[in-house]
Symmetry: C2
Subunit: 689 residues, 2 copies
C-alpha cells in the first residue's frame, strides 16, 4: 500500500455514457432481452457467492492444517526437552517455524504484488466510491492475497484471516462479471454487456458482501457492509442480488467445512469461529505507509522485518508461558483443542500457552464461552497488554492480513477481565457473574472503536454469535464507541484514505461549504473538441501529460456532448477517420463491442501510432459522445453539486453559463479536496486523478 501514492488514481465512471451506439443497442433490445440480462445478473451473483465461499473454505482449511502441524511439532519437541529442562531448543524451533511461514508470505507480497498487503478493504471501499486503485481487482492480487494470508496466520502473527476475504470476494466478482481474465489472456465471450464501470461496480459490491458473509457467516451483515461502506444510490433489485450472493457464499462455506469436519449437512450458522478482522488493516496499512516510506522501502527489508516480528512474537509468547504458571484443569466443558501441559500437573493445562498456540479465532471463542474461572485475572491482564503491543507492531508489516481478530481478542480479554473483577466485587451468582458476556461486549467495543461501523457491525456480531438477545447491548456499546471515538479522531478507514490522499467523496459536502459555488471549485479553462475534430489535435491533447484530462466537452460554442479519453483512444486505435466521403463507406462501422473489448485496460495514447497524413484527417465524434451530459450553472452551490455528483456517481460535471457555453468542468478531485477541519473549511492536497 505504501507505494499507492506513486500511482495516479483513475476515477471510475458510474454514469453511463448514453451515446448513439448505446441507445441504439438498448432500443434494439426486446423486453425479453432485458429479462435475460436480469437472469444473467442473478447467475453471476450466484457464481460470485459460490467461488468466494470456496476461497474462504480453502483459507480456513489450510490454516487449520498448518496450525495443527505446528502445534504437534512443538508439542513433541517440548515433551522431549522438558525433562532436560532446556526449553530453548523448543523456543528456537517454534520461532523458526513461525518465521519461515511469515517469510514465505512476506516474500510473495513484497516482491510480487505489494497491493496484496493488508486486507484490501480500504481499496475496495475506494473502488465502490469511484476511485480505481491500480491492480486492485486483478487475478494475480487474489492469488498472492490468499497465499499470503494463509502464511501470516499460520506464522502465528497477531493477525486474522477474514479481512482479505472481502478483497478476495471483490476480485472474484470483478473477474466473473466480465467473463474473462486479462491476466490469463482468456475471454469466454460471455457477459459482454456488463463490461462497463456501472455494472462492474454492482457486482463488486456483491462480491464484497459475499466476502463478509463468508468471513463471518453473516449474510445480512455482508449486505449491510457493502451498503454502508459502498453504495450511495440504493436500488432494491441490486440489494436482493447482493443478498443472494451473500447467502450462497455462506452456504457454500458451511457446506464444504461441514464435510471437512466430517459432519456433512450441519449447516447451522457457524457462529464465532467465523469472527474475523476486516477493517483495522486500514491502520495496518496506514502505519506501514507512514513509516515504511521513512526507512523501509526495499522489499527484502520488509521481509526481514516481518520475520523479526514473527520471531519476537514467538519469543514473547514463550517467555510469558514460561513465567506464568496459570494451570487450569482439563474439563469436558472446556472448548480447548490444543491443551498444553507444560509445567502443570497432570490433568491440567497451561492457559497462557493455549491462548498463544490457538489461532486467534479459537482464543476469542474460548474467552467468550469458557466457564467462569477458566482464566486468572493476572494472565488476562498481561496477555491483553502484550498482545496489544504485538498487534500494533504487526500492523506495519507487508503481509496479507488484517487486525479484526486481534481487536476482538484484545477486547474480549479485557472485557472478560472486567467481568471477573466486577463479579468479584458484586460477588453475585446471577447472570452478571458470567465473564463470557463481558468478553463479548468488550470485543464489540474494541472493534467498534476502531471501525466506527454501527449498523453492519451490530448485525455481523449478532449473526456471528447466533444470538439476538445480545443485539441491544452490542448496539449500545457500538454507538457509544463511535460517538466517543469520533470526538477524538476519525475512523481508521478515513485516516487511511486521507493518508493515501485518495480523492474520496464522503456522504455529504462539508456543512459550511455553502460559501462555495461551482464557479470556484471547477477547473477551467476546459479543453473542448468540436463535433468533427482534427485527429492531430486530439492526439496532441491526449498526449499532453501536463494536463491529462479524461473527459472532454464537445462544442461548437454551446455544449453539445461529452466524450471520454477512453472512447477517443478506441476511436484512434480503430482509425475511425474521415478522409474522403468514399472511404467512410468502405470503413467498418465501430460497434459498442469494440469499446467493451478494450475495457477496462485501454491502451495509453503513446502506444497508438498515427501517421503524419492521418493527423490531417478528421474524426466525427457525434455518435460516440454522450449527447446529454449533466450540466449545472456557475452559481450552483457546492453542496448541490456534491449531491448531484454523489447520487449519480458522476465523473465529470460540465459547468455552463446562461448561454449553455462551457465555462468549466468539475471532477471528483475538485470536490474531494474540501474538508472540514478544526477551524472551518480546509483544502487538502490530493493525489493526481
Amino acid at each position: 500500500m505504501s507505494n499507492l501514492v506513486r500511482f495516479v488514481f483513475q476515477s471510475l465512471d458510474y454514469d453511463n455514457s448514453e451515446n448513439q451506439l448505446f441507445l441504439e443497442e438498448e432500443r434494439r433490445m426486446s423486453h425479453m432481452g432485458f429479462r435475460c440480462l436480469e437472469i444473467r445478473r442473478w447467475v453471476i451473483c450466484g457464481l460470485i457467492g459460490f467461488l468466494t465461499g470456496l476461497i474462504a473454505c480453502l483459507i480456513d482449511i489450510a490454516v487449520e492444517e498448518l496450525a495443527g502441524y505446528k502445534y504437534s511439532a512443538v508439542k513433541q519437541n517440548i515433551e522431549k526437552f522438558t525433562e532436560f529442562g532446556g526449553l530453548s531448543i523448543s523456543l528456537i524451533l517454534w520461532a523458526a517455524l513461525n518465521s519461515a511461514f511469515v517469510m514465505v508470505g512476506a516474500i510473495a507480497v513484497a516482491f510480487f504484488e505489494p497491493i496484496a498487503a493488508g486486507s484490501g478493504i480500504p481499496q475496495i471501499k475506494c473502488y465502490l466510491n469511484g476511485v480505481k486503485i491500480p491492480c486492485v481487482v486483478r487475478l494475480k492480487t487474489l492469488a498472492i492475497k490468499v497465499f499470503g494470508v494463509i502464511c501470516s496466520v499460520a506464522g502465528g502473527l497477531a493477525v486474522g484471516k477474514e479481512g482479505p476475504m472481502i478483497h478476495s470476494g471483490a476480485v472474484v466478482a470483478a473477474g466473473v462479471s466480465q467473463g474473462r481474465s486479462t491476466s490469463l489472456k482468456k475471454d469466454f465471450k460471455i457477459f459482454e454487456y456488463f463490461r462497463r464501470d456501472t455494472e462492474k461496480r454492482d457486482f463488486v459490491s456483491a462480491g464484497a458482501a459475499a466476502g463478509v458473509s463468508a468471513a463471518f457467516g453473516a449474510p445480512v451483515g455482508g449486505v449491510l457492509f457493502s451498503l454502508e461502506e459502498g453504495a450511495s444510490f440504493w436500488n432494491q433489485m441490486l440489494t436482493w442480488r447482493i443478498f443472494f450472493a451473500s447467502m450462497i457464499s455462506t452456504f457454500t462455506l458451511n457446506f464444504f467445512l461441514s464435510i471437512y469436519h466430517g459432519k456433512p449437512g450441519e449447516l447451522s450458522s457457524p457462529g464465532l469461529i467465523n469472527f474475523g478482522r476486516f477493517d483495522s488493516d486500514v491502520s495496518s496499512v496506514s502505519i506501514s505507509f507512514s513509516y515504511s516510506d521513512a526507512y523501509i522501502h526495499r522489499p527484502c527489508l520488509q521481509v526481514m522485518e516481518a520475520m523479526l516480528v514473527a520471531a519476537v512474537t514467538a519469543t514473547v509468547a514463550f517467555a510469558m508461558i514460561y513465567f506464568s504458571n496459570d494451570c487450569q484443569p482439563l474439563g469436558q466443558d472446556s472448548t480447548e483443542e490444543y491443551p498444553l501441559q507444560l509445567f502443570c500437573a497432570d490433568g491440567e493445562y497451561n492457559s497462557m500457552a493455549t491462548a498463544f498456540f490457538n489461532t486467534p479465532e479459537r482464543s476469542v471463542r474460548s474467552l467468550f464461552h469458557n466457564p467462569p474461572g477458566s482464566y486468572n485475572p493476572l494472565t488476562l491482564g498481561v496477555f491483553t497488554l502484550v498482545y496489544f503491543v504485538l498487534a500494533v507492531w504487526t500492523y506495519g508489516l507487508t503481509v496479507s492480513a488484517g487486525v479484526f481478530i486481534p481487536s476482538l481478542l484484545i477486547g474480549a480479554a479485557w472485557g472478560r477481565l472486567f467481568g471477573i473483577l466486577l463479579s468479584t466485587i458484586t460477588s453475585s451468582q446471577s447472570i452478571w457473574a458470567d465473564p463470557g458476556k463481558y468478553a463479548l461486549i468488550g470485543a464489540a467495543a474494541q472493534l467498534g472503536g476502531i471501525v466506527r461501523m454501527t449498523l453492519s457491525l451490530t448485525v455481523i456480531m449478532v449473526e456471528a454469535t447466533g444470538n439476538v438477545t445480545y443485539g441491544f447491548p452490542i448496539m449500545l456499546v457500538l454507538m457509544t464507541a463511535k460517538i466517543v471515538g469520533d470526538y477524538f479522531i476519525e475512523g481508521l478507514y478515513d485516516i487511511h484514505i486521507k493518508l493515501q490522499s485518495v480523492p474520496f467523496l464522503h456522504w455529504d459536502a462539508p456543512p459550511t461549504s455553502h460559501w462555495l459555488t461551482a464557479r470556484e471549485v471547477m477547473s477551467s479553462p476546459v479543453t473542448c473538441f468540436n463535433r468533427v475534430e482534427r485527429v492531430g489535435r486530439i492526439v496532441d491533447v491526449l498526449s499532453n501529460t501536463s494536463t491529462n484530462h479524461n473527459g472532454f466537452p464537445v462544442v461548437p460554442g454551446k455544449i453539445c456532448g461529452l466524450i471520454l479519453r477512453s472512447q477517443l483512444i478506441v476511436l484512434l486505435k480503430h482509425k475511425v477517420f474521415v478522409e474522403r466521403a468514399s472511404s467512410r463507406l468502405s470503413q467498418r462501422r465501430l460497434q459498442l463491442k469494440d469499446f467493451r473489448d478494450a475495457y477496462p485496460r485501454f491502451p495509453p495514447i503513446q502506444s497508438i501510432h498515427v501517421s503524419q497524413d492521418e493527423r490531417e484527417c478528421m474524426m466525427d465524434l457525434n455518435e460516440f459522445m454522450n449527447p446529454t451530459p449533466y450540466t449545472v450553472p456557475q452559481e450552483t452551490s457546492l453542496p448541490r453539486v456534491f449531491k448531484l455528483f454523489r447520487a449519480l456517481g458522476l465523473r465529470h460535471l460540465v459547468v455552463v453559463d446562461d448561454e449553455n457555453r462551457v465555462v468549466g468542468l468539475v471532477t471528483r478531485k475538485d470536490l474531494a479536496r474540501y474538508h472540514l477541519g478544526k477551524d472551518g473549511l480546509e483544502e487538502l492536497q490530493l493525489a493526481q486523478t
Copy 2:
C-alpha cells in the same frame, strides 16, 4: 382509503429550493451551528423512538386487558350454561361483545378519519416516495388509528395490531420533528429549521423504522424496512439516526411491558409476541377500495358490515369449537394462557377454542412452540381454511387494522400441518419431527408471498424469533416466495398503489423506455414568470384550476430560476409588492421564517384577497426563486431523466433547448405514468398531481 382517489395528490419536494434566503442563512451559520443542528436531529430521533414505543405499549396493554376481560366473561357464561346444554346464549353474548368492540372502532374510523383505515403502510410508502396523501400524518389520524386498532383486535377480527404502529410512528415523527401541531394550534417554536419536506422525510422514515422495531422487536429490521421501502439516496448519518430511533423504541416498549408484566428489567428481545402484520393491509385497503366504491360508500353501511363480520367470525368460531372435539391435556410446557375446557374431560382443554380465543399473536406463538402432538391435523386443516376465508373478508372492512398477523397465522397453521404429515410419513424422531419449525417456515413463506420483501423481512423474522440459526432457511423460503409470486402478480403494495393510481416512482424506469426522451414525456407549454412579475398575472395563474401547476420556471428568455406555488402564496400573503421604490424600504423584508411558519399547510389562493390596485403592483421573485434548478436537454432519454429524478427526489425538472430556453417541465406524474405491461410499455391513467 377508498376515498383517496377523490383527493388530488400533492407531490413533496425533496430537493431544497436553494434561494438567496436559504443560502444567506446557511452561510450565516457557523460550524458550531451545524453541530447543534446535528445534535438536535439526534434528540428528535430519540423522542420519536420513545413516543412510538409508548404508543406500541399502550396498544399492547389495552388489547391484553380487553381480551382478558372478554375471555373471562364468556368463560363464566359458558360454565354457567353448559350444564343446561344451551350454549346459544354464550354464543350470542360472545358475538355481541365482539360486534360492540368492532362497532365502536368502525364508527371512529368511518365517521371521523377514513384515512385511518387499514395500516397506513401504503400511505407511508407513498409519502417516503414523494407523494403526499392528505391528512396522513395528522395527529387526529394517529388518535383514531390507535383507538381503532385496539377495538378491532379486541373485537376478535382476523387482524393484528402491529401494522398501524408503523403509521403511528410516522405520524409521531412528522409531529415531533416540526415542533408543533397544527391540529392543536400549538407551536413550540423549536426545530423550525426542520420545517421543510427534505428534513421531514428523513424523520418520517425514522418514525416508520421505530414503528416496525416496536411492532416486531426488530430494530435492524426496522431500519432495513424504511430503507427498502422508502429511501432512495442512502446516507450513512441518516441511517445511524434511524437505527438510534429504532433502538430507543424497542427499548422503551420492552421496558414498560416488562414493568406491566411485573418483571421489570427483563429487556431481552421480546420475540414472537411482537410479531404483527404490517403490510397486507395494503390489500385490505385495495380491496375495500375496489368494492367499497361498488356499493358500500356510506359510513353507516361500512360500520354495519364490520359488525356483521365480527358476529360471523364469532359464530363460525363457535361452530367449529362445537363440532371439533380436539381435546389436549393441560401440560406445564404448554404456553396457553386461556385454556377452555368446554366439552373436554377435566385436565384437558379444547385446542380449537384456544386457537380462536387467543389473540392471533398468541396463537402464532403456540403454533411455533407447542410440543409435537398439541394439535391434530384435522383441526389445523379446518382452522386454516376457515381463518383464511375470514381474513380475506376482513380485508375489506373500514377498520384500523392490517393482516400481517393473519398471514402469519395461516402460514403457521398449514406449515405445522405440513410438518405433522411429513413426520408421520418419515416417522423419524430427528429434528425433522418438530412441527414447530415447519410452522415458522410456513409463516415466513405465506408472509413473503404477500409482501415480497426479502431482506428486511428476513431480519424481522430472525430478530422476532431471536434465533439466527433459522435465518438461512427463512431467506431461502422468502426468496422462493418472491420469485414465484412475482411471476404471477405484483406484490400487494404495488397492486394497491396502482389501484389508487398514485404517481409512484419505482426504483428504475421500465427497461424498454430508452425509446422515449424528455421531449416526449415533458408537459409543455410551461407557464413561466418573469424575474419581476405583475401580481395580477401571478394571481390569475395560481387561481387557474384547470392547470394547477406547482412549479414555475422564471425567465426572461433563458431559464434563470424556478419558483414554487407555495412560495408565491406566501409572497402574496405578505404582500411583498413593489409599488414605489420608497415603499419597498418601509416594507419588512421577508424571512425564511415566514415560509417555515406557513409550512406545510399553505393557504389556497382563493383565501388570499388581492385588491384591484395591488394587482397592478409588481413582485420581485429574484431572492425567492431557486436560481439553480436542475435542467436537462430535450434529447435526454427517459431512464436518464428518471434516474436524476429518483436519486435527487426532484419534483420538477426543467427541460431546456441548446439556448437554455425553457421548452418543457417534467413532473413526477409524467414519469410515473409509464409502466411495463405484458406487451411492452403502457401508459397508466394517474390521479391528478
